[in-house]
Point group: C2
Chain length 599, copies 2
């Protein structure tokens, strides 16, 4: 061992001890005939002191040192005269007796500090240096602890971690698979799993009634800002359960995480304040998809704040304002304390909702100011009528009512975006609070006009709600479209981080699902034959859930982007800038794989 | 929840309770107006009893049941009149009140019993049914527990589990990479990692001084009987350590596993007998590669038994027996108590060593029988001389001495094989014992006559022993060939299940390594540029180890084959017989990937 202690562990109680430390040089200062060296490792920083005039050979070595050199230093722990309360080792320093250079370093291309001067691309290329910075180190530690907590919780609940293969069969439905040519089976390809969905269902058929895996998944999609071609899931499945059994089990997991991730350097104690209010043993709120859309205009509502959407079509129609009279839907939100918004501010909000990302045609407002009601539609509505609308929305004096009208689903989604925007503007999306929520009873199917067929909203193994089976087996498209799925999402602060469903275990329902999705018997057999076959040999009732592990870690770390919670992420073109992957392979290898590039 | 209890948990103390169970039907018997149904789940088997004449509707349902049907049954726990001491639930049965069929089942293609009647291919195709059998269930549980123990141990030692990417860069050196065409980067490919070797070294450069991962690795090799194209490693790396620090850390891990895997249904208590003798806190034996070859003719000796190899060239030469006089090496083993072997038996042994797999030209024996020494070479040697040879080998009266002669390395390897064979024949390789062993100081390089170049025995990042650096930088091929690596293997019962090394952290030594391996600067830069670059920015001294997790689990489970310790293994052609993977992909997908098949 090159060291007796780490750079994070010495305290005043160690004063007088002879120690050996090893690490990287964070910085060197000269002051009053002394050299001060900050030595850094994963655990912290310890100050080394060298008396410049005492030992000329030691002094010579210190003279050669530079930033990020790796050294081994020995000496005696002494109490500091001027203590540094900002670091845990700040009460002591090392009276250095010898220094050995273990490795030199070029000057790093950016500073290894919390706030570095390096741009994103440079840091991606030198990821091993970026990973030396404290925020990334904390992210890696948080991720490790989260994984350990998840595993220990699920282990304690009787779940078995079972590894499923990475080289599987391509079953395209939804996103694109990455494929792997097989040299031993010329002309054939493996696929990398988008999720172990079918394999975990086979494990249920095999009788492993509580399965989990923290597992890598792959999706060859065009990458949006915060998507990765490979990502990690907490993947789970249970047999002989109903929805509430699953929700309760994973509320327990979330509670364990909330309770046990307090010492990760993210000041999580403060962050879990909201959680304390809803109590660790309590249930998380639940809302149906229909209500989530109706009240929040979103299937992943951020419930850290209110500002719910109200429908006012009934009360607003019939006053001769043709927009409201003709619209399928009229609704709005009441923004607390914003009645004082100026004309300029409401104009700017109008522009905001008219942006193509939102797509509204205009915005109607009612200001419940102290000196009376003002509105952009007071030509059509009497103050009394406006007050009635405001009352319907439970708006109070001082509030600003914002109203949109149009087709129901689209308008609700616009109001949902507007609600989030107003939450941001009013500072109601407190990053110190965590508001978990279950959303359930999603639509089972989505009709695609272009291909004139239904697509599964979740995947083709999601069970319809038992009460909707008549509609599911109906020949009328409208009835089929109305079927709800026994599916649920776990939402945290307006981000979906988990989703799952009770699966189909009845072969007749599964066959009907393939039929509804427009698969011929042969297609279904080719794509999902092994699963269809397995279901003939005693499939138990089962269901499961999968959580986005990268996203979960980022949320716990209080960050928007997942990239710093992945050790070696890829950029938006799916490239690893450090490894320079993907890359060309040589002709001999292509030949062995029976492949030719047409590029 | 479909059940109140599992099929493995009810005991006599539960008598009188009303319970609901769910599971699969193992078998049904009718006897004296009663039906007995064995209901099975992951946790055990519970007997349900139905009085055939009591409830006609219940009786009707029971009449429909068949093997592997999934049912839900409710009733009252009662004490059995004739108890079954073979199962933990054998004191009770369920007086069944109602049965609900949750799913039917076709008759399975083989019996779901410990000793099934299904052939290997059939079981591979119906893996989800094979996984219902108890031996596989126990294997999955053992694997889960082993993984948990490994993680908890390493976590307690300050290791961080850090996930490394699966889509990396192809760096062919040694086995073939699987590759993944990139749609977004036409003409370019990712590679699947053969191990995260370079990534974990980058993590050391990044300052994460204790890393581990239980990680999937990939090798596109022609598969031998017990190899898999994807396999799992316990992958570890540490900084600021020397060899002994690493060996001690992982002895600790093995001791934890030995101590804590006693309740997995494999009767491991008995199996760890040997281990108790060497004491849980004690060190595992260590042997150098040179001594391992000299005494055991193998770099992975099985030390559960002695029968060490002795060199007898000195004492045997000069008697006019030209085979021994001319051979580079003469050596043998002394087989205890086998002096009574008949001529037929020694002839058979001679045939055995002459098989092409061993390749010896012949076998010399000396029988130390009670009625005097007998030997196949008594034409050339006096009884006195033979006795001297036997004495040199510490053979005792009653032993059978077996001698081979030829080129040193090859003959030692033959003797090593013969030793294992004799150990098997004499029942000395006791499957109830575990004999761990470290082998260290392997050769660094191997000269290949065909390509006229050196290859790295381990990989190009393995450090030479410091005392061999002069030879390493020498221009003479003989001197370079003699350099030892600071590498070590963990061997258990004659199987290598772990291997690692202290790595090179000095850029000058790393460059010399690339030079010795015949890489030009450009080649080295293209293949390992990111690592060479990283080493310019302060690489700490570091080293690590990786264990074959599949193999480790199989050994703990007392099995030779890893296949039953992998949930969904592939066959010898790399095919998943259940998924029918790999398979053809459609032309559209090939086009998107800019690929054409030439097959």
């Amino acid at each position: 061992m090159y060291r007796t202690h780490t750079c994070g562990e010495l305290r005043i109680a160690n004063a007088g001890e002879r120690v050996v430390l090893a690490g990287w040089i964070q910085r060197i200062r000269k002051m009053g005939g002394m050299s001060f060296v900050d030595l850094r490792d994963r655990y912290g920083i310890t100050q080394l002191v060298v008396n410049d005039s005492k030992d000329s050979s030691l002094n010579e070595i210190v003279g050669k040192l530079g930033r990020e050199f790796v050294i081994q230093a020995s000496g005696r722990v002494v109490e500091r005269s001027s203590k540094n309360s900002k670091i845990p080792t700040g009460d002591i320093e090392i009276e250095t007796e010898s220094v050995k250079i273990l490795n030199g370093s070029l000057t790093p291309p950016f500073t290894i500090e919390d706030d570095t001067d390096g741009g994103e691309e440079l840091r991606a290329k030198f990821r091993y240096l970026d990973l030396r910075r404290s925020p990334l180190k904390k992210a890696m530690e948080l991720r490790h602890k989260t994984a350990q907590q998840v595993r220990n919780y699920l282990d304690s609940k009787g779940f078995l971690e079972i590894e499923t293969p990475v080289l599987i069969k391509s079953t395209p439905e939804g996103a694109r698979d990455f494929v792997v040519p097989s040299r031993m089976n010329p002309g054939e390809f493996y696929a990398l799993p988008q999720s172990p969905q079918q394999l975990k269902q086979l494990l249920m058929v095999a009788g492993y009634d509580r399965y989990f895996q923290i597992v890598r998944c792959f999706r060859d999609e065009d990458l949006r800002a915060d998507r990765q071609p490979e990502f990690t899931q907490i993947d789970c499945e249970m047999s002989f359960v109903e929805r509430e059994d699953i929700l309760n089990t994973f509320e327990g997991m979330m509670n364990t995480l909330f309770a046990n991730l307090l010492d990760t350097g993210f000041d999580l104690e403060k962050k879990f304040k909201y959680h304390d209010e809803i109590k660790i043993s309590g249930s998380f709120p639940r809302i149906s998809y229909t209500d989530a859309m109706k009240y929040y205009g979103s299937d992943k509502p951020d419930i850290r704040f209110g500002m719910k959407i109200s429908s006012i079509k009934q009360i607003a129609a019939g006053a001769g304002f043709s927009l409201f009279d003709s619209a399928e839907y009229v609704g709005g939100i009441s923004v607390p304390g914003a009645a004082g918004y100026t004309r300029k501010q409401t104009d700017e909000l109008t522009e905001w909702v008219k942006r193509p990302q939102i797509g509204a045609k205009g915005l109607v407002y009612i200001k419940l100011a102290e000196d009376g009601i003002k509105s952009s539609i007071d030509k059509f509505y009497t103050p009394d009528h406006l007050q009635k609308i405001a009352d319907e929305m439970e708006a109070k004096s001082g509030d600003l009512v914002l109203i949109l009208a149009g087709p129901e689903k689209k308008t609700l989604e616009m109001l949902g975006s507007l609600r989030i925007e107003m939450g941001n503007r009013l500072g109601l999306r407190n990053s110190d609070e965590y508001a978990p929520l279950w959303v359930y009873d999603f639509p089972l199917l989505e009709w695609d006009e272009e291909t004139q067929r239904f697509y599964a909203m979740h995947h083709p193994f999601t069970s319809p709600k038992p009460e909707d089976l008549d509609n599911f087996f109906s020949t009328e498209r409208d009835k089929i479209a109305k079927v709800s799925a026994n599916a649920y999402d776990f939402v945290l602060n307006g981000t979906e981080i988990g989703g799952g469903s009770i699966r189909i275990h009845d072969p007749a329902i599964q066959n009907r699902m393939f039929e509804v999705l427009g698969f011929t018997k042969e297609e279904a057999e080719y794509r999902f034959g092994f699963l269809i076959n397995a279901f003939r040999y005693g499939a138990p009732p089962h269901g499961g859930i999968a959580f986005g592990f990268d996203r979960l870690c980022a949320l716990f770390g209080g960050q928007e982007s997942i990239r710093d919670f992945i050790a070696f992420p890829k950029n938006n073109s799916g490239r690893d800038m450090m490894l320079e992957a993907p890359s060309r392979i040589d002709e001999a290898q292509m030949k062995e794989l029976f492949l030719k590039s047409t590029h």
